[in-house]
Protein backbone atom coordinates (compact mmCIF):
# COMPACT_ATOMS: atom_id res chain seq x y z
CA UNK A 1 0.00 0.00 0.00
CA UNK A 2 2.62 2.52 0.96
CA UNK A 3 4.32 3.92 -2.13
CA UNK A 4 5.90 7.04 -0.74
CA UNK A 5 6.69 7.10 2.94
CA UNK A 6 7.86 9.91 5.19
CA UNK A 7 9.01 8.65 8.54
CA UNK A 8 9.34 11.17 11.38
CA UNK A 9 10.92 13.71 9.06
CA UNK A 10 12.16 16.96 10.59
CA UNK A 11 13.93 20.01 9.23
CA UNK A 12 15.83 22.64 11.14
CA UNK A 13 17.28 25.90 9.87
CA UNK A 14 19.83 26.80 12.50
CA UNK A 15 17.95 26.60 15.77
CA UNK A 16 14.53 27.05 14.17
CA UNK A 17 12.58 23.81 13.67
CA UNK A 18 10.48 24.34 10.59
CA UNK A 19 9.11 20.81 10.12
CA UNK A 20 8.90 18.32 12.96
CA UNK A 21 7.89 14.69 13.37
CA UNK A 22 6.26 14.48 9.95
CA UNK A 23 5.06 10.95 9.22
CA UNK A 24 2.90 10.08 6.26
CA UNK A 25 2.38 7.19 3.89
CA UNK A 26 1.03 7.86 0.44
CA UNK A 27 -0.49 5.08 -1.66
CA UNK A 28 0.24 4.60 -5.34
CA UNK A 29 -1.98 6.82 -7.46
CA UNK A 30 -3.19 8.76 -4.46
CA UNK A 31 -3.72 12.53 -4.46
CA UNK A 32 -2.62 14.03 -1.15
CA UNK A 33 -2.66 17.71 -0.21
CA UNK A 34 -0.55 19.50 2.36
CA UNK A 35 -2.83 22.20 3.69
CA UNK A 36 -1.87 24.89 6.14
CA UNK A 37 -1.32 28.61 6.58
CA UNK A 38 1.64 30.32 4.95
CA UNK A 39 4.93 29.58 6.69
CA UNK A 40 3.82 26.28 8.27
CA UNK A 41 6.50 24.25 6.44
CA UNK A 42 4.63 22.85 3.43
CA UNK A 43 7.16 23.94 0.84
CA UNK A 44 10.03 22.79 3.05
CA UNK A 45 8.50 19.31 3.29
CA UNK A 46 7.94 19.17 -0.46
CA UNK A 47 11.51 20.29 -1.13
CA UNK A 48 12.82 17.53 1.09
CA UNK A 49 10.89 14.99 -0.98
CA UNK A 50 12.24 16.62 -4.14
CA UNK A 51 15.77 16.55 -2.73
CA UNK A 52 16.47 20.30 -2.81
CA UNK A 53 16.72 20.21 0.98
CA UNK A 54 18.09 17.42 3.18
CA UNK A 55 15.98 16.39 6.18
CA UNK A 56 17.63 17.02 9.55
CA UNK A 57 16.10 13.82 10.89
CA UNK A 58 13.89 11.01 9.66
CA UNK A 59 13.65 8.99 6.47
CA UNK A 60 11.92 9.34 3.13
CA UNK A 61 11.28 6.13 1.20
CA UNK A 62 9.91 5.51 -2.27
CA UNK A 63 8.75 1.95 -2.88
CA UNK A 64 10.71 0.92 0.19
CA UNK A 65 14.03 2.39 -1.01
CA UNK A 66 15.72 5.26 0.82
CA UNK A 67 15.19 8.37 -1.27
CA UNK A 68 17.45 10.72 0.67
CA UNK A 69 20.62 9.12 -0.72
CA UNK A 70 19.46 9.67 -4.33
CA UNK A 71 20.57 12.84 -6.13
CA UNK A 72 17.64 15.19 -6.89
CA UNK A 73 18.42 14.83 -10.60
CA UNK A 74 18.04 11.06 -10.36
CA UNK A 75 14.83 10.93 -8.32
CA UNK A 76 12.59 11.12 -11.36
CA UNK A 77 9.95 13.28 -9.67
CA UNK A 78 7.89 15.85 -11.52
CA UNK A 79 7.70 19.25 -9.89
CA UNK A 80 5.54 22.27 -10.63
CA UNK A 81 6.73 25.40 -8.88
CA UNK A 82 4.58 28.24 -7.64
CA UNK A 83 6.39 30.62 -9.98
CA UNK A 84 6.33 27.91 -12.70
CA UNK A 85 10.10 28.39 -13.17
CA UNK A 86 9.78 27.92 -16.92
CA UNK A 87 12.93 28.38 -19.00
CA UNK A 88 12.20 31.80 -20.56
CA UNK A 89 14.68 31.34 -23.41
CA UNK A 90 13.00 28.16 -24.64
CA UNK A 91 9.70 27.68 -26.43
CA UNK A 92 6.90 25.70 -24.83
CA UNK A 93 7.95 22.60 -26.75
CA UNK A 94 11.62 23.05 -25.82
CA UNK A 95 10.65 23.47 -22.17
CA UNK A 96 8.68 20.25 -22.20
CA UNK A 97 11.35 18.41 -24.20
CA UNK A 98 14.13 19.34 -21.76
CA UNK A 99 13.52 16.48 -19.34
CA UNK A 100 13.36 13.98 -22.19
CA UNK A 101 16.61 15.30 -23.67
CA UNK A 102 18.29 14.78 -20.29
CA UNK A 103 17.05 11.21 -20.42
CA UNK A 104 18.42 10.77 -23.93
CA UNK A 105 15.03 9.83 -25.34
CA UNK A 106 15.35 9.41 -29.13
CA UNK A 107 14.51 12.53 -31.14
CA UNK A 108 11.37 11.19 -32.82
CA UNK A 109 9.88 9.70 -29.68
CA UNK A 110 10.68 12.91 -27.84
CA UNK A 111 8.84 15.00 -30.41
CA UNK A 112 5.81 12.75 -30.24
CA UNK A 113 5.67 12.75 -26.44
CA UNK A 114 6.04 16.52 -26.26
CA UNK A 115 3.21 16.95 -28.75
CA UNK A 116 0.96 14.51 -26.92
CA UNK A 117 1.64 16.00 -23.49
CA UNK A 118 1.05 19.57 -24.65
CA UNK A 119 -2.19 18.39 -26.25
CA UNK A 120 -3.19 16.70 -23.01
CA UNK A 121 -2.90 19.96 -21.06
CA UNK A 122 -4.83 21.76 -23.79
CA UNK A 123 -1.92 23.54 -25.45
CA UNK A 124 -1.92 21.93 -28.90
CA UNK A 125 -0.67 24.54 -31.36
CA UNK A 126 1.31 26.50 -28.78
CA UNK A 127 4.54 24.53 -29.31
CA UNK A 128 6.58 27.46 -30.66
CA UNK A 129 5.42 30.10 -28.17
CA UNK A 130 7.86 31.55 -25.68
CA UNK A 131 6.65 31.65 -22.04
CA UNK A 132 6.65 35.47 -21.99
CA UNK A 133 4.05 35.40 -24.74
CA UNK A 134 1.68 33.17 -22.79
CA UNK A 135 -0.95 33.93 -20.16
CA UNK A 136 -0.52 32.78 -16.56
CA UNK A 137 -2.86 29.86 -17.13
CA UNK A 138 -0.99 28.75 -20.24
CA UNK A 139 2.39 29.02 -18.50
CA UNK A 140 1.01 26.90 -15.71
CA UNK A 141 -0.06 24.25 -18.23
CA UNK A 142 3.41 24.24 -19.78
CA UNK A 143 4.89 23.73 -16.32
CA UNK A 144 2.51 20.84 -15.73
CA UNK A 145 3.32 19.29 -19.11
CA UNK A 146 7.06 19.67 -18.44
CA UNK A 147 6.67 17.80 -15.15
CA UNK A 148 4.38 15.09 -16.53
CA UNK A 149 6.21 14.29 -19.77
CA UNK A 150 8.98 12.48 -17.92
CA UNK A 151 6.35 10.12 -16.44
CA UNK A 152 7.34 10.93 -12.88
CA UNK A 153 6.79 8.41 -10.11
CA UNK A 154 5.46 11.24 -7.95
CA UNK A 155 4.15 14.63 -9.04
CA UNK A 156 4.85 17.46 -6.61
CA UNK A 157 2.83 20.65 -6.96
CA UNK A 158 3.75 23.72 -4.91
CA UNK A 159 0.78 26.09 -4.87
CA UNK A 160 0.44 25.69 -8.62
CA UNK A 161 -2.81 27.58 -8.94
CA UNK A 162 -2.29 30.46 -6.53
CA UNK A 163 -1.22 32.89 -9.24
CA UNK A 164 -4.37 32.39 -11.30
CA UNK A 165 -7.60 34.34 -10.99
CA UNK A 166 -10.53 32.64 -9.27
CA UNK A 167 -12.41 31.42 -12.35
CA UNK A 168 -9.33 30.05 -14.08
CA UNK A 169 -8.26 28.43 -10.85
CA UNK A 170 -11.52 26.50 -10.64
CA UNK A 171 -11.19 25.35 -14.24
CA UNK A 172 -7.62 24.23 -13.67
CA UNK A 173 -8.63 22.36 -10.51
CA UNK A 174 -11.10 20.26 -12.45
CA UNK A 175 -8.62 19.70 -15.25
CA UNK A 176 -5.79 18.83 -12.90
CA UNK A 177 -7.94 16.26 -11.14
CA UNK A 178 -8.98 14.70 -14.46
CA UNK A 179 -5.42 14.50 -15.75
CA UNK A 180 -4.24 13.00 -12.47
CA UNK A 181 -7.04 10.39 -12.52
CA UNK A 182 -6.31 9.43 -16.12
CA UNK A 183 -2.57 9.08 -15.64
CA UNK A 184 -2.82 7.61 -12.14
CA UNK A 185 0.23 9.62 -11.07
CA UNK A 186 0.80 9.75 -7.34
CA UNK A 187 0.46 13.45 -6.53
CA UNK A 188 1.27 15.73 -3.62
CA UNK A 189 -0.21 19.21 -3.71
CA UNK A 190 0.83 22.04 -1.44
CA UNK A 191 -1.81 24.67 -0.87
CA UNK A 192 -3.11 27.14 1.67
CA UNK A 193 -6.54 27.15 0.04
CA UNK A 194 -8.89 24.77 1.85
CA UNK A 195 -11.37 24.65 -1.04
CA UNK A 196 -8.62 23.60 -3.41
CA UNK A 197 -7.42 20.91 -1.04
CA UNK A 198 -10.93 19.60 -0.50
CA UNK A 199 -12.01 19.53 -4.12
CA UNK A 200 -8.81 17.86 -5.40
CA UNK A 201 -7.51 15.45 -2.81
CA UNK A 202 -8.11 11.90 -1.73
CA UNK A 203 -6.58 12.83 1.60
CA UNK A 204 -5.58 16.07 3.26
CA UNK A 205 -2.67 16.60 5.62
CA UNK A 206 -3.52 19.64 7.72
CA UNK A 207 -0.38 21.33 9.00
CA UNK A 208 0.29 24.03 11.54
CA UNK A 209 3.67 25.36 12.63
CA UNK A 210 5.60 22.48 11.13
CA UNK A 211 3.46 19.75 12.65
CA UNK A 212 0.69 17.57 11.32
CA UNK A 213 -2.65 18.44 12.89
CA UNK A 214 -4.71 15.84 11.11
CA UNK A 215 -4.57 13.41 8.21
CA UNK A 216 -7.85 12.34 6.67
CA UNK A 217 -10.22 12.45 3.73
CA UNK A 218 -11.66 15.88 2.96
CA UNK A 219 -14.93 14.82 4.52
CA UNK A 220 -13.29 13.49 7.69
CA UNK A 221 -11.22 16.59 8.26
CA UNK A 222 -14.21 18.83 7.67
CA UNK A 223 -16.78 16.93 9.67
CA UNK A 224 -14.60 15.54 12.44
CA UNK A 225 -11.79 18.04 12.88
CA UNK A 226 -9.20 16.67 15.27
CA UNK A 227 -8.42 20.08 16.76
CA UNK A 228 -9.72 23.60 17.10
CA UNK A 229 -7.10 24.64 14.56
CA UNK A 230 -8.42 22.23 11.95
CA UNK A 231 -12.04 23.17 12.49
CA UNK A 232 -11.23 26.85 12.13
CA UNK A 233 -8.89 26.46 9.21
CA UNK A 234 -11.24 24.23 7.21
CA UNK A 235 -14.25 26.40 6.57
CA UNK A 236 -16.19 28.53 9.00
CA UNK A 237 -17.06 27.29 12.44
CA UNK A 238 -18.78 28.47 15.61
CA UNK A 239 -16.96 27.84 18.86
CA UNK A 240 -18.73 28.76 22.11
CA UNK A 241 -18.83 27.86 25.77
CA UNK A 242 -21.35 25.48 27.33
CA UNK A 243 -21.61 23.54 30.58
CA UNK A 244 -22.47 20.00 31.50
CA UNK A 245 -24.75 19.77 34.46
CA UNK A 246 -24.35 16.44 36.25
CA UNK A 247 -26.55 17.42 39.23
CA UNK A 248 -29.65 16.36 37.41
CA UNK A 249 -30.08 12.78 36.20
CA UNK A 250 -29.70 12.23 33.40
CA UNK A 251 -27.08 15.01 32.98
CA UNK A 252 -27.72 17.90 30.56
CA UNK A 253 -25.49 19.82 28.23
CA UNK A 254 -26.55 23.45 28.46
CA UNK A 255 -25.73 26.44 26.26
CA UNK A 256 -27.97 29.39 27.08
CA UNK A 257 -31.54 28.31 26.50
CA UNK A 258 -30.46 25.39 24.35
CA UNK A 259 -29.91 22.03 26.00
CA UNK A 260 -29.47 18.40 25.14
CA UNK A 261 -28.77 15.17 27.00
CA UNK A 262 -25.16 15.18 28.16
CA UNK A 263 -22.79 12.78 26.45
CA UNK A 264 -20.91 10.33 28.64
CA UNK A 265 -17.49 11.12 29.99
CA UNK A 266 -17.42 14.90 30.11
CA UNK A 267 -18.30 17.24 32.92
CA UNK A 268 -18.05 20.93 33.79
CA UNK A 269 -17.27 23.69 31.26
CA UNK A 270 -16.93 22.56 27.62
CA UNK A 271 -16.58 24.15 24.20
CA UNK A 272 -19.11 23.38 21.49
CA UNK A 273 -17.94 23.54 17.90
CA UNK A 274 -20.56 23.55 15.16
CA UNK A 275 -20.54 24.33 11.44
CA UNK A 276 -22.75 27.27 10.44
CA UNK A 277 -24.69 25.21 7.87
CA UNK A 278 -25.71 22.71 10.56
CA UNK A 279 -27.61 25.31 12.58
CA UNK A 280 -31.29 25.85 11.87
CA UNK A 281 -33.91 28.38 12.96
CA UNK A 282 -36.54 26.76 15.19
CA UNK A 283 -39.15 27.41 17.86
CA UNK A 284 -36.89 26.46 20.76
CA UNK A 285 -33.15 26.73 21.36
CA UNK A 286 -30.48 29.37 21.78
CA UNK A 287 -32.03 32.85 21.78
CA UNK A 288 -30.42 35.13 19.20
CA UNK A 289 -30.98 38.25 17.12
CA UNK A 290 -30.04 38.56 13.43
CA UNK A 291 -27.47 41.34 13.07
CA UNK A 292 -26.77 41.15 9.36
CA UNK A 293 -28.16 39.04 6.56
CA UNK A 294 -26.08 38.56 3.42
CA UNK A 295 -27.43 37.04 0.25
CA UNK A 296 -24.84 34.90 -1.56
CA UNK A 297 -26.79 33.37 -4.41
CA UNK A 298 -27.20 29.75 -3.47
CA UNK A 299 -27.21 30.47 0.25
CA UNK A 300 -27.86 33.08 2.92
CA UNK A 301 -25.26 34.06 5.50
CA UNK A 302 -26.57 35.29 8.84
CA UNK A 303 -24.52 37.05 11.49
CA UNK A 304 -26.29 36.58 14.82
CA UNK A 305 -25.80 37.88 18.33
CA UNK A 306 -26.78 35.05 20.67
CA UNK A 307 -26.74 34.32 24.37
CA UNK A 308 -23.42 32.57 23.81
CA UNK A 309 -21.76 35.28 21.76
CA UNK A 310 -21.75 36.04 18.04
CA UNK A 311 -22.51 33.16 15.69
CA UNK A 312 -22.80 32.63 11.97
CA UNK A 313 -25.54 30.61 10.35
CA UNK A 314 -25.71 29.50 6.73
CA UNK A 315 -29.03 28.51 5.19
CA UNK A 316 -29.59 27.08 1.72
CA UNK A 317 -31.56 29.35 -0.56
CA UNK A 318 -34.34 26.79 -0.98
CA UNK A 319 -37.18 29.24 -1.46
CA UNK A 320 -38.28 29.24 2.21
CA UNK A 321 -38.87 32.59 3.84
CA UNK A 322 -35.79 33.62 5.82
CA UNK A 323 -35.71 35.79 8.98
CA UNK A 324 -35.00 39.48 8.44
CA UNK A 325 -32.29 41.63 10.01
CA UNK A 326 -33.16 42.56 13.62
CA UNK A 327 -35.55 39.66 13.99
CA UNK A 328 -35.36 37.53 17.16
CA UNK A 329 -34.78 33.85 16.42
CA UNK A 330 -34.03 30.56 18.16
CA UNK A 331 -30.99 28.55 17.03
CA UNK A 332 -31.05 24.78 17.20
CA UNK A 333 -28.97 21.88 15.96
CA UNK A 334 -28.76 18.12 16.29
CA UNK A 335 -26.32 17.00 19.01
CA UNK A 336 -24.58 14.63 16.54
CA UNK A 337 -23.63 17.59 14.30
CA UNK A 338 -21.49 19.31 16.89
CA UNK A 339 -18.18 18.37 18.43
CA UNK A 340 -17.37 18.88 22.10
CA UNK A 341 -14.08 19.69 23.77
CA UNK A 342 -13.21 20.21 27.39
CA UNK A 343 -12.62 23.96 27.72
CA UNK A 344 -8.94 24.79 27.71
CA UNK A 345 -7.99 21.77 25.60
CA UNK A 346 -6.10 22.93 22.58
CA UNK A 347 -6.81 19.76 20.65
Amino acid sequence: MSFLELDRVAKQFGTQTVVDDFSLTVGKGEFVSFLGPSGCGKTTTLQMIAGFLDPSRGAIRLEGRDLTVVQPAKRGLGIVFQSYALFPHMTAAENVAFGLEMRRVPRSECRERVRATLAMVGLAGYEERYPRRMSGGQQQRVALARALVIRPSVLLLDEPLSNLDAKLREEMQIELRQIQRNLGTTTILVTHDQNEAMSLSDRIVVMSQGRIEQIGTPQETYERPASAFVSQFLGKTNDFAATIDRTATPGRLIAGSWSAPAPAGLAGPVTISIRPERIGFGDAGLAAKIVTRIFQGNHWLFQCESECGSMIVIRQNDGQKQPAEGEAVRLAWRPEDMSLRRTGDAA
Binding site: F52, A73, G78, F81, A85, F87, G99, Y130, R146, A147
Partner: protein
Protein backbone atom coordinates in the same frame (compact mmCIF):
# COMPACT_ATOMS: atom_id res chain seq x y z
CA UNK B 1 -5.90 61.62 -19.71
CA UNK B 2 -8.42 64.17 -18.48
CA UNK B 3 -6.79 67.11 -20.26
CA UNK B 4 -9.18 68.62 -22.80
CA UNK B 5 -7.85 69.31 -26.33
CA UNK B 6 -7.75 73.06 -25.65
CA UNK B 7 -5.16 72.65 -22.92
CA UNK B 8 -2.85 70.58 -25.10
CA UNK B 9 -0.91 73.61 -26.31
CA UNK B 10 -0.35 74.79 -22.77
CA UNK B 11 0.68 71.27 -21.68
CA UNK B 12 3.28 71.16 -24.41
CA UNK B 13 4.57 74.62 -23.42
CA UNK B 14 4.80 73.51 -19.78
CA UNK B 15 6.73 70.44 -20.84
CA UNK B 16 9.23 72.54 -22.77
CA UNK B 17 9.50 74.98 -19.92
CA UNK B 18 10.15 72.24 -17.41
CA UNK B 19 12.81 70.55 -19.51
CA UNK B 20 14.44 73.83 -20.52
CA UNK B 21 17.13 73.91 -17.80
CA UNK B 22 18.27 70.38 -18.53
CA UNK B 23 18.07 71.02 -22.26
CA UNK B 24 20.18 74.16 -21.98
CA UNK B 25 22.77 72.33 -19.92
CA UNK B 26 22.83 69.51 -22.45
CA UNK B 27 23.25 71.91 -25.37
CA UNK B 28 25.74 74.07 -23.49
CA UNK B 29 28.12 71.42 -22.21
CA UNK B 30 27.72 68.68 -24.81
CA UNK B 31 26.28 69.72 -28.13
CA UNK B 32 28.16 73.00 -28.57
CA UNK B 33 31.65 71.72 -27.60
CA UNK B 34 31.05 68.64 -29.73
CA UNK B 35 30.05 70.70 -32.74
CA UNK B 36 33.08 72.92 -32.20
CA UNK B 37 35.37 69.88 -32.04
CA UNK B 38 33.94 68.59 -35.31
CA UNK B 39 34.50 72.02 -36.93
CA UNK B 40 37.98 72.15 -35.49
CA UNK B 41 38.90 68.89 -37.18
CA UNK B 42 38.46 70.60 -40.58
CA UNK B 43 40.70 73.57 -39.74
CA UNK B 44 44.30 73.94 -40.84
CA UNK B 45 47.32 74.05 -38.55
CA UNK B 46 50.95 74.95 -39.03
CA UNK B 47 53.99 75.00 -36.74
CA UNK B 48 54.29 78.79 -36.98
CA UNK B 49 50.89 79.99 -38.16
CA UNK B 50 48.84 78.07 -35.54
CA UNK B 51 45.19 77.25 -36.20
CA UNK B 52 43.64 78.65 -39.38
CA UNK B 53 39.81 78.58 -39.48
CA UNK B 54 39.43 77.19 -43.00
CA UNK B 55 37.56 74.16 -44.29
CA UNK B 56 40.02 71.51 -45.51
CA UNK B 57 40.22 67.72 -45.36
CA UNK B 58 43.94 67.67 -44.54
CA UNK B 59 43.61 66.21 -41.05
CA UNK B 60 41.09 63.60 -42.10
CA UNK B 61 43.25 62.65 -45.04
CA UNK B 62 46.24 62.25 -42.74
CA UNK B 63 44.33 60.15 -40.21
CA UNK B 64 42.94 57.95 -42.98
CA UNK B 65 46.19 57.33 -44.84
CA UNK B 66 49.03 57.47 -42.32
CA UNK B 67 49.62 53.89 -41.05
CA UNK B 68 50.69 55.41 -37.74
CA UNK B 69 47.08 56.29 -36.97
CA UNK B 70 45.79 52.95 -38.23
CA UNK B 71 48.16 51.22 -35.82
CA UNK B 72 46.90 53.37 -32.92
CA UNK B 73 43.27 52.61 -33.69
CA UNK B 74 43.85 48.89 -34.16
CA UNK B 75 45.73 48.79 -30.89
CA UNK B 76 42.87 50.62 -29.17
CA UNK B 77 40.34 48.16 -30.60
CA UNK B 78 42.51 45.19 -29.65
CA UNK B 79 43.01 46.38 -26.08
CA UNK B 80 39.31 47.19 -25.64
CA UNK B 81 38.27 43.83 -27.06
CA UNK B 82 40.68 41.82 -24.91
CA UNK B 83 39.68 43.78 -21.82
CA UNK B 84 36.02 43.07 -22.60
CA UNK B 85 36.73 39.38 -23.04
CA UNK B 86 38.64 39.11 -19.79
CA UNK B 87 35.99 40.97 -17.79
CA UNK B 88 33.28 38.78 -19.31
CA UNK B 89 35.09 35.51 -18.70
CA UNK B 90 35.97 36.43 -15.12
CA UNK B 91 33.11 38.77 -14.24
CA UNK B 92 30.16 36.56 -15.23
CA UNK B 93 31.19 33.64 -12.98
CA UNK B 94 32.09 36.15 -10.29
CA UNK B 95 28.58 37.63 -10.38
CA UNK B 96 27.05 34.14 -10.43
CA UNK B 97 29.02 32.99 -7.40
CA UNK B 98 28.25 36.24 -5.61
CA UNK B 99 24.56 35.76 -6.31
CA UNK B 100 24.61 32.30 -4.75
CA UNK B 101 26.26 33.43 -1.53
CA UNK B 102 24.10 33.76 1.54
CA UNK B 103 23.08 37.11 3.01
CA UNK B 104 26.00 38.43 5.00
CA UNK B 105 28.78 37.17 2.72
CA UNK B 106 26.92 38.46 -0.28
CA UNK B 107 26.86 42.04 0.97
CA UNK B 108 30.46 41.81 2.09
CA UNK B 109 31.76 40.63 -1.26
CA UNK B 110 29.51 42.99 -3.15
CA UNK B 111 31.27 45.75 -1.24
CA UNK B 112 34.67 44.23 -2.08
CA UNK B 113 33.77 44.21 -5.76
CA UNK B 114 32.20 47.66 -5.88
CA UNK B 115 34.60 49.27 -3.42
CA UNK B 116 37.26 49.98 -6.06
CA UNK B 117 34.75 52.22 -7.85
CA UNK B 118 35.18 54.60 -4.94
CA UNK B 119 38.94 54.79 -5.47
CA UNK B 120 40.32 56.94 -8.27
CA UNK B 121 41.32 55.10 -11.42
CA UNK B 122 44.69 56.79 -11.17
CA UNK B 123 45.34 55.38 -7.71
CA UNK B 124 44.29 51.90 -8.77
CA UNK B 125 46.47 51.97 -11.86
CA UNK B 126 49.44 53.33 -9.98
CA UNK B 127 49.08 50.30 -7.74
CA UNK B 128 49.85 48.09 -10.69
CA UNK B 129 52.84 50.23 -11.53
CA UNK B 130 54.11 49.83 -7.96
CA UNK B 131 53.75 46.06 -8.16
CA UNK B 132 55.24 45.50 -11.61
CA UNK B 133 57.14 48.67 -12.49
CA UNK B 134 60.51 47.46 -13.75
CA UNK B 135 63.26 46.38 -11.30
CA UNK B 136 61.69 48.23 -8.38
CA UNK B 137 58.23 46.71 -8.66
CA UNK B 138 57.34 44.79 -5.50
CA UNK B 139 56.25 41.61 -7.26
CA UNK B 140 59.20 41.69 -9.63
CA UNK B 141 61.60 42.15 -6.74
CA UNK B 142 60.03 39.29 -4.82
CA UNK B 143 60.03 36.89 -7.77
CA UNK B 144 63.61 37.75 -8.66
CA UNK B 145 64.83 37.33 -5.09
CA UNK B 146 63.12 33.94 -5.03
CA UNK B 147 64.99 33.13 -8.21
CA UNK B 148 61.78 32.34 -10.07
CA UNK B 149 62.53 34.84 -12.82
CA UNK B 150 65.81 36.17 -14.10
CA UNK B 151 64.73 39.59 -15.30
CA UNK B 152 61.70 41.68 -14.31
CA UNK B 153 58.39 40.73 -15.91
CA UNK B 154 57.62 43.31 -18.53
CA UNK B 155 54.37 44.92 -17.62
CA UNK B 156 54.82 48.65 -17.98
CA UNK B 157 54.57 49.97 -21.54
CA UNK B 158 53.14 46.67 -22.81
CA UNK B 159 49.72 45.92 -24.21
CA UNK B 160 49.40 43.02 -21.78
CA UNK B 161 49.96 45.43 -18.92
CA UNK B 162 47.38 47.91 -20.20
CA UNK B 163 44.83 45.13 -20.76
CA UNK B 164 45.31 43.66 -17.29
CA UNK B 165 45.11 47.03 -15.56
CA UNK B 166 42.07 48.04 -17.63
CA UNK B 167 40.31 44.73 -16.92
CA UNK B 168 40.86 45.39 -13.24
CA UNK B 169 39.38 48.86 -13.51
CA UNK B 170 36.41 47.75 -15.62
CA UNK B 171 35.49 44.58 -13.73
CA UNK B 172 32.83 46.19 -11.47
CA UNK B 173 30.83 47.31 -14.49
CA UNK B 174 30.68 43.79 -15.87
CA UNK B 175 29.86 42.23 -12.50
CA UNK B 176 27.10 44.77 -11.89
CA UNK B 177 25.59 44.23 -15.30
CA UNK B 178 25.54 40.43 -14.98
CA UNK B 179 24.33 40.77 -11.41
CA UNK B 180 21.36 42.80 -12.60
CA UNK B 181 20.52 40.10 -15.13
CA UNK B 182 20.78 37.43 -12.45
CA UNK B 183 18.25 39.24 -10.30
CA UNK B 184 15.66 38.58 -12.97
CA UNK B 185 16.33 34.84 -13.05
CA UNK B 186 13.73 32.76 -11.20
CA UNK B 187 15.46 31.43 -8.06
CA UNK B 188 13.74 28.07 -8.52
CA UNK B 189 14.80 27.64 -12.13
CA UNK B 190 17.93 25.65 -11.33
CA UNK B 191 15.89 23.33 -9.13
CA UNK B 192 13.45 22.91 -11.99
CA UNK B 193 16.26 21.85 -14.32
CA UNK B 194 17.73 19.64 -11.61
CA UNK B 195 14.43 17.84 -11.10
CA UNK B 196 14.28 17.15 -14.83
CA UNK B 197 17.61 15.34 -14.63
CA UNK B 198 20.14 18.03 -15.63
CA UNK B 199 23.66 17.99 -14.16
CA UNK B 200 25.38 21.12 -12.82
CA UNK B 201 27.31 21.84 -16.03
CA UNK B 202 24.23 21.40 -18.19
CA UNK B 203 22.32 23.74 -15.90
CA UNK B 204 24.97 26.46 -16.26
CA UNK B 205 25.35 26.02 -20.01
CA UNK B 206 21.74 25.52 -21.05
CA UNK B 207 19.72 27.31 -18.37
CA UNK B 208 21.73 30.00 -16.57
CA UNK B 209 24.07 31.28 -19.27
CA UNK B 210 21.40 31.92 -21.92
CA UNK B 211 19.41 33.93 -19.40
CA UNK B 212 22.27 36.13 -18.24
CA UNK B 213 23.66 36.56 -21.76
CA UNK B 214 21.86 39.89 -22.28
CA UNK B 215 23.52 41.10 -19.07
CA UNK B 216 26.94 39.89 -20.22
CA UNK B 217 26.46 41.58 -23.58
CA UNK B 218 25.32 44.91 -22.19
CA UNK B 219 28.18 44.73 -19.71
CA UNK B 220 30.47 44.07 -22.67
CA UNK B 221 29.19 47.16 -24.46
CA UNK B 222 29.84 49.31 -21.40
CA UNK B 223 33.30 47.86 -20.80
CA UNK B 224 34.26 48.05 -24.48
CA UNK B 225 33.28 51.68 -24.89
CA UNK B 226 34.85 52.72 -21.58
CA UNK B 227 38.08 50.83 -22.39
CA UNK B 228 38.33 52.16 -25.93
CA UNK B 229 38.03 55.73 -24.69
CA UNK B 230 39.95 55.17 -21.43
CA UNK B 231 42.68 57.67 -20.79
CA UNK B 232 44.19 57.37 -17.31
CA UNK B 233 45.12 53.69 -17.36
CA UNK B 234 46.74 53.63 -20.84
CA UNK B 235 48.46 56.91 -20.01
CA UNK B 236 50.04 55.51 -16.83
CA UNK B 237 50.80 51.95 -17.94
CA UNK B 238 51.30 52.56 -21.66
CA UNK B 239 52.81 56.02 -21.39
CA UNK B 240 54.24 57.72 -24.46
CA UNK B 241 55.66 54.50 -25.82
CA UNK B 242 52.37 52.68 -26.15
CA UNK B 243 49.75 55.13 -27.32
CA UNK B 244 46.05 54.47 -27.81
CA UNK B 245 43.46 56.73 -29.45
CA UNK B 246 42.67 58.71 -26.30
CA UNK B 247 46.31 59.33 -25.33
CA UNK B 248 47.09 60.14 -28.94
CA UNK B 249 44.41 62.83 -29.12
CA UNK B 250 45.67 64.20 -25.80
CA UNK B 251 49.21 64.42 -27.11
CA UNK B 252 48.15 66.16 -30.28
CA UNK B 253 46.24 68.70 -28.24
CA UNK B 254 48.69 69.38 -25.47
CA UNK B 255 52.15 68.45 -26.75
CA UNK B 256 52.24 68.98 -30.48
CA UNK B 257 49.54 71.64 -30.07
CA UNK B 258 48.05 70.45 -33.34
CA UNK B 259 44.49 70.87 -32.15
CA UNK B 260 42.78 70.19 -35.48
CA UNK B 261 44.54 66.84 -35.89
CA UNK B 262 43.75 65.92 -32.28
CA UNK B 263 40.14 66.85 -32.93
CA UNK B 264 40.02 64.57 -35.96
CA UNK B 265 41.34 61.67 -33.87
CA UNK B 266 38.85 62.37 -31.09
CA UNK B 267 35.90 62.66 -33.49
CA UNK B 268 36.88 59.46 -35.26
CA UNK B 269 37.08 57.62 -31.93
CA UNK B 270 33.69 58.99 -30.94
CA UNK B 271 32.01 58.09 -34.24
CA UNK B 272 33.52 54.59 -34.26
CA UNK B 273 32.37 53.98 -30.70
CA UNK B 274 28.86 55.27 -31.30
CA UNK B 275 28.54 53.05 -34.37
CA UNK B 276 29.83 49.98 -32.54
CA UNK B 277 27.67 50.56 -29.45
CA UNK B 278 24.48 51.39 -31.33
CA UNK B 279 25.06 48.55 -33.77
CA UNK B 280 25.69 45.85 -31.21
CA UNK B 281 22.88 47.12 -29.02
CA UNK B 282 20.46 46.81 -31.93
CA UNK B 283 21.74 43.29 -32.64
CA UNK B 284 21.27 42.25 -29.02
CA UNK B 285 17.80 43.75 -28.81
CA UNK B 286 16.75 41.90 -31.94
CA UNK B 287 18.25 38.63 -30.78
CA UNK B 288 16.53 38.70 -27.40
CA UNK B 289 13.35 40.62 -28.18
CA UNK B 290 11.23 37.48 -28.46
CA UNK B 291 12.42 35.98 -25.24
CA UNK B 292 12.94 38.78 -22.78
CA UNK B 293 10.43 41.44 -23.67
Amino acid sequence: MSAAPTTDGRDARTAWLLTAPALMLFVGVLVIPLAMTVMLSFHDWGQYKGIEPVFILKNWHEVATDPYFAEMFWRTARIALLTTLITAVLGAPEAYILNRMSGRWKSFFLLVILGPLLISVVARTLGWALLFGGNNGLVNKLLMSLGLIGSPLSFMFTETGVVIALAHVMMPFMVLSVWAALQRVDPQIENAALSLGAGPLTIIRRIVLPQIMPGVLSGAIIVFSLSASAFATPAIIGGRRLKVAATLAYDEFLNTLNWPLGAAVAVLLLVALVLIVVGSNALIERRYAEVFR
